[in-house]
Symmetry: D2
Subunit: 103 residues, 4 copies
């Protein structure tokens, strides 16, 4: 997957634009387009075809940003899962949508 | 990974909050926190430790949203890569940051 | 108001950070914090005190960005209201949440 | 201005969509479109015509959200300016882009 993303970028000579700040911005813009699919609607009325496309765009930029820093994605996700388990102990966080500092 | 995320959610009884609209919103909020690491700074001055953490949060919500719809992540990314290759032909898009409809 | 914002900025020597790209990014981050007040909740369960504060932050950056370009805010809003009235004719857009290009 | 926005909304029967959560989401989406004008570019290379339009969209939703709660905009901005003056004392915050809790 990363191999393909790099090749796609390099065939278009786009590495010049892909600094980490703009990659993060691009990710955020795609996240916003994902949210637009749900705007003025109930969750179940959003078009899944469009959700899928916009989510893919988010993921593609997320992977490219990780690649920019040379990070391993499963590893950074695993670390965060472990950290969240500490921040949100199951017994304190049960059935609550509060942020960790309000538990 | 998905197995862990589901268990984490269920031990906290959080499935009740996790409708797709709010998952997309949560993803977007994390994307914004990722951007905050770069705010008022050059790309290279952003703290990589914080970038890594916020990117992990984005990815965790992206995976949970995909899981909500029962989607396979490598597959939806592959589809989008193929579609982008059509929208941005290498010869037209070379060295340009224009959107596909301006090429 | 603008007078105060400029004085606030200059007493802190912050003009150096306030390029238009980062001002737009700051605005977007505040917009996201505004959305966080509604996350996992129904509209009516969001804390109005926090909504008010985050909305104020959005407006402060919006005013500063307009000021950066030397724009008059009531005038740019009026122009957009006029343009929207053309894009969304009352008879076609009635009771529809569709985007103008889908009407 | 508010009078016009209300009339615009009511002629299209859009009040049904305008709950505060979706208004905040719409604002955030417009903020993201504003950022898209700057994407992959230096601040000075962004098209001012597009910046102006997207900023207007942000402001229109900000005004509608304030109106939804019955708030006076100059007043809520003034309150926030006063609060920021406390959070960021001029002598401590000078020439620093740090958040108030890091000063």
């Amino acid at each position: 997957m990363l191999q393909q993303l790099r090749q796609f970028r390099d065939e278009r000579d786009w590495a010049q634009f892909h600094n980490s700040k703009d990659l993060a911005l691009a990710l955020s813009i795609e996240a916003s387009e994902l949210n637009e699919v749900f705007l003025w609607k109930k969750a179940e009325d959003a078009d899944p075809v469009r959700v899928r496309e916009e989510l893919a765009d988010v993921l593609l930029y997320a992977f490219q940003l990780a690649d920019k820093y040379g990070w391993d994605i499963p590893q950074l996700m695993q670390e965060k899962i472990d950290r969240n388990a500490e921040k949100y102990p199951a017994d304190k966080a049960r059935s609550s949508s509060a942020k960790y500092d309000k538990l």
